[in-house]
């Protein structure tokens, strides 16, 4: 979107090829909530300043330094006018409110979320005369010597050859392509849930890599979280998250614990639990709480499974009941007295338990008991094409492609080698999209 609008404003004629239909248009972007961007002071949309240095430090921390520092720094600096630019396109933001998840200072929140944002973007496209074809899927790219010739596009049951002077790739990652995920994760990928669009199958990425684009990022690197195991296979979005882990005991199918549930406040641990769950038998785990913890965390889209005894709960969840009872009895015995405080790490811990629960450890002893099945929900993948500061795709010979640019998930791996900080996805897409659009339009004119 940012590429198309920028290029169109520079006078280029733009064709947007979207594999989704009108209802599902806008990929993962229709699921987003906010954008993390550099800003000097509080505005109508954020509660305080967030300088480039702090942004950079945060990014270095979450990626463990696994980033292209130069590109990251450039992205962060350029994000400063991203929100103003989005406002100019007609996108609306909301004031910081209660539900802004501790990101009220660093991130600006779209009024109504990503779908409302995409509606505004599509409206802006219509106004500017950008041609959009829905239900048109790029199957393969024709690239010769680092030069884009044409795309083969399936539309209305037929394959069309679409030529253009320049092309911007913004087709997302391959998170909806289970077969490709298996290359990194093995057969267990069958049990992953895809939080976003079923359209992001990575066909464009695959074809570019086949055509000699230089890959970046590992095939199993991605953003993934623990979500409700009952969520739809695709497009479950934000509502399927399960936030009770820190107040719970998490067991696998065999009824055994496998990780410290109370390591840190939930937003910081949100992203590791997807991977943890993926390593359990059948890629599923169960968060168990008792009556005491009801209401301490964000409400869930599916009601908890409820029972008066742990054995009954285990049976309903399909967990080994005897083992789960034993696990919880051992856990209860290890819980130390302390001042429970749901809002910050409270030091309420277990002793002599392996693995320990290091915060919010309270006995699970007050019926009714509740359980949530959790599975790994994949947000987006990081393996992509390498780009330079102009968002130009780099080929295997380390030379930039003549007329191919990329933005968003398809090149997010340049910034995100691993880890994630909420709102970075939108920043990457918007910043590199604008640059890609500008460069592609300029090139097309010459």
């Amino acid at each position: 979107m940012s590429a198309a609008l920028t290029a169109r404003r520079m006078g280029a004629s733009v064709l947007m090829i979207e594999s989704a239909n009108k209802d599902l248009r806008g990929g993962n972007s229709r699921h987003v909530r906010n954008i993390r961007y550099t800003h000097k002071a509080a505005t109508d949309y954020v509660t305080g300043g967030y300088e480039a240095d702090e942004y950079m430090a945060d990014l270095m921390r979450v990626t463990d330094g696994n980033t292209n520092e130069e590109l990251a720094r450039f992205m962060i600096d350029a994000s400063e006018d991203a929100v103003d630019w989005m406002l100019e396109q007609g996108i609306k933001f909301q004031p910081p409110l209660s539900g802004t998840l501790g990101l009220a200072r660093t991130n600006a929140f779209f009024l109504g979320g990503g779908k409302a944002m995409m509606n505004s973007y599509f409206k802006a496209c219509e106004k500017l005369g950008i041609d959009i074809v829905f239900e048109a899927e790029v199957e393969t790219m024709e690239v010769a010597d680092g030069r884009f010739e044409a795309a083969m596009v399936r539309h209305g049951g037929e394959l069309h050859r679409v030529e253009a002077r320049t092309v911007v790739l913004a087709s997302g990652g391959f998170e909806a392509n289970i077969e490709w995920l298996k290359e990194g994760w093995g057969e267990i990928a069958d049990n992953f849930l895809v939080r976003g669009s079923p359209m992001n199958t990575g066909k464009v990425l695959r074809s570019m890599l086949d055509n000699g684009a230089k890959p970046i990022g590992a095939v199993d690197q991605c953003h993934a979280v623990a979500i409700d195991g009952r969520a739809p296979k695709f497009d479950g979005g934000i509502a399927t998250r399960v936030d009770c882990v820190i107040f719970s005991v998490v067991v696998n199918k065999l009824g055994k614990r496998f990780y410290d549930e109370g390591e840190d406040i939930w937003p910081k641990r949100y992203a590791i639990w997807g991977r943890l769950v993926a390593k359990q038998p059948d890629q599923v785990a169960y968060a168990i709480i008792d009556q005491k913890s009801v209401g301490l965390f964000m409400p869930t889209v599916y009601s908890a499974i409820k029972a008066d005894t742990l054995a009954d709960l285990a049976d309903q969840l399909g967990v080994d009941a005897a083992e789960m009872e034993k696990t919880i009895a051992e856990y209860n015995a290890a819980v130390q007295p302390g001042d429970f405080n749901p809002t910050e790490p409270d030091g309420c811990t277990t002793v002599g338990l392996e693995p320990a629960k290091t915060n919010w450890a309270r006995k699970i002893d007050t019926p009714p008991y509740y359980g949530y099945p959790v599975k790994m929900g994949i947000t987006f993948t990081y393996l992509g094409v390498e780009v330079n500061k102009s968002a130009q795709v780099i080929m295997n010979d380390d030379k930039p492609a003549t007329n191919i640019w990329a933005a968003g998930e398809i090149m997010a791996g340049n910034i995100l080698g691993q880890g994630y900080a909420g709102g970075t996805g939108m920043a990457i897409g918007t910043v590199f999209g604008r640059i890609a659009g500008e460069e592609a339009a300029r090139h097309a004119r010459n």
Binding site: P95, F110, L111, G112, K115, K123, I238, A239, V301
Partner: protein, 365 residues
């Protein structure tokens, strides 16, 4: 209480919304929702009546159909609201008037106007009704002042009683404390919200109309309607004061306070509802309760007819048409008042109650 399926659907949808919360910037519904973990019958009834139908949350919804969650908050809530008006109607025997509402309103209007016309003709005779009357008390040559007062104030008073009883039952069922209804700060806050039609501004940019486009049209049209109605009410109040306190009899001068207020109000209740009719006609049917459009249309047409006949009466009051017009205008106003508790006017009562409740809830505790 509204039907179980409607309530259950509202609860289902609110549970999904409460785990998403992307729409919290749009209106009062979502912040109020956030304060709840579980949704009982009263909670969803309250939230539904807090909803102004701006539809912002529908177009923003990643879970709207064809998504399997099939979330459609404006439609679900519109259905629940219509059932609120029906099920809190007092006395209960008149609930039926809220199904197929347009038909009933039309029938009542025609019957009342006809009865008034026949009665006047029988008592006064054709000559008197069609004569030109001028000067103080001119209207009362056709229908005596006392008769007008009784005819209009009786149904109006009954409507107020019916609404008070409905509102108190509603207030109890949404789980609010009786005393809160009379908290001056909350009532004042709610009055301000209504006066500005704050939540018809959605998240500050208007309702979504005719599709995902933001537009202030619906808010402005509603403002014309609401303030037009208020001005008409003010005009009548001033005229009543003139009559009883000062002994000044209508018709009043074109530049007198009652006539100026009434004229502006009359224009408001004509152009506002016309605007709303146009908006309804062009709007996307998906986020709306299309089963009960009749109730909305009936109310809007009644306001238009009230305004048009009132304005016509003003312009033609010194001609022989005054008598017939007075009968028609009065007949329509009568029918409007009689049907107040059994039609769309009810929205004002339960919305106001919900806004007072919200004003309490949002106070930092």
């Amino acid at each position: 209480m509204p039907a179980t399926e409607t309530l259950e659907e509202a609860k289902r949808v609110m549970q999904i919304c409460n785990s998403c919360r992307y729409c919290e910037g749009y209106c009062a519904v979502f912040p109020a929702m956030t304060k709840r973990l579980l949704f009982g019958d009263g909670d969803v009834t309250y939230l539904a009546n807090l909803c102004h139908g701006c539809q912002g949350c529908f177009y923003a919804c990643q879970y709207a159909p064809p998504h399997e969650f099939a979330v459609n908050v404006p439609k679900t809530f519109a259905e629940l609201r219509a059932e609120t008006y029906r099920d809190y109607a007092w006395p209960g025997v008149f609930k039926g008037l809220l199904e197929g509402n347009a038909k009933w309103v039309a029938l009542i209007t025609v019957v009342l106007t006809a009865l008034l016309g026949i009665g006047t003709l029988m008592v006064q005779g054709v000559d008197k009704v069609t004569a030109v009357h001028t000067g103080a008390g001119a209207f009362y040559e056709v229908i005596p002042h006392n008769v007008i007062v009784y005819l209009a104030s009786a149904p109006f008073a009954l409507a107020i009683i019916a609404f008070i009883i409905g509102a108190l039952k509603f207030w109890r069922d949404i789980g609010a404390k009786p005393a809160e209804l009379f908290s001056p700060s909350a009532v004042w806050q709610a009055l301000k919200d209504v006066g500005q039609m704050k939540y018809m501004a959605g998240g500050g940019h208007g309702c979504n109309y005719p599709n995902d486009n933001y537009s202030m049209g619906r808010r402005y049209a509603h403002q014309f309607t609401m303030w037009g109605f208020m001005l008409c009410f003010a005009a009548t109040s001033v005229a009543t004061l003139y009559h009883y306190a000062f002994g000044w009899e209508a018709p009043y001068d074109y530049l007198s306070i009652p006539v100026v207020l009434g004229t502006l109000g009359g224009i408001g209740i004509v152009i506002g509802p016309i605007g709303l009719l146009v908006i309804k006609k062009n709007a996307d049917p998906e986020p709306r309760d299309t089963k009960r459009t009749g109730m909305d249309l009936a109310f809007l047409w009644m306001l238009i007819l009230t305004g048009v006949t009132g304005l016509a009466l003003l312009v033609l009051r010194e001609t022989s048409l005054m008598g017939p017009l007075l009968i028609i205008h009065l007949g329509i106003v009568l029918a409007l008042f009689v049907t107040f508790p059994y039609g769309k006017m009810a929205h004002a009562v339960y919305r106001m109650a919900s806004l007072i409740r919200f004003a309490h809830e949002r106070k930092p505790s």
